[in-house]
Amino acid sequence: MVLGLATGFVFGFLLQKSGVAKFETIVSQFLFRDFTMLKVMLTAIIAGGVGVYAIHEFGGKPLVIKQAQMDAVLLGGLIFGTGMALLGYCPGTAVASAAQGNRDALAGLLGMFAGGALFAENFSYFAASLLKRHDLGKPTLPEITGLPAWLFFAALIAVALPLFRRLERRER
């Protein structure tokens, strides 16, 4: 519990300091005017992934992969993306922004509570239909391709580094 609070504290601190807990930063990313969000997320994915896979491989901790119910993931993603463009925050950044006193983020959080309540009411219906369609289980990219995980991270780095360099040059 204390560990969760401490981890969350650092998480919130980083969200605020990176600037992604702002409406303008998030929407500007989707308009390709500001790439802060992409820089933060891609760096976090690469840095985090290398370490988490190392702990998994050498420490024997199992990965925690989410179910690939493809129809639900795709439809959920479309709904989420639409909502995120309207709101300008995702759940984590809405919490961070609301905590700093931004009322639109607070309104967004209230909407999230309502959306969660509505989904809970509809869950039985989806469980018997949408959530069953194209259920691939919990595969990872290395599993379905047979390629080693480090190759994916090497590829991500090979894409990210020149991209970051170009973005920095353009923004200067």
């Binding site: 308009l31 390709f32 820089k39 992934g49 901790k61 690939a68 309502a114 949408l130």
Partner: protein, 177 residues
Amino acid sequence: MFSILRMRRWPPYAAGALLGALSWFAFATTGKLLGVSTALVKTTAMAEQAVVPGHVAANPYFAKTGTKIDWEWMLVLGIALGAWTAGRLAGAEERKEPPALWQSRFGASRRKRYAAAFAGGGLVMYGARMAGGCTSGHGISGSLQLAVSSWTFFLTIFAAAVAVSALLYGRGANDAR
């Protein structure tokens, strides 16, 4: 040291790398990774339980999420405290409500902005629960584990948000005042 904590912005790569390191810490200490939306829907369950306990007990989804405060719920509480502290250390920032970019398209009405934010938040959470995660649980934590579900979700939300943002705020969008 303290001056770093007082900086308004950290370089995105530093913040991203530290978020990555935070993922190692969470994984090593609890075997879990960062996620937010489950804890928020759990908050809904706790609120409903206070009003209609029987209804929550009979709901199969709330049975899955549970109604007890756990590591992930404390994580979300921590996000609020951490973001508040970081903002405080950086000092007061000029705030515009609604945000300038919003105002340039939809005018200065706060009520309109809050209504849109509420609707947007509703869609965000509905989609997150359908797909099983949000930008943290899927976007960062799932993607860094190279999960098929998470990369699919990440790319889909990005494409949808780009399209809808272009319609709402893009150069071609009409100024509706």
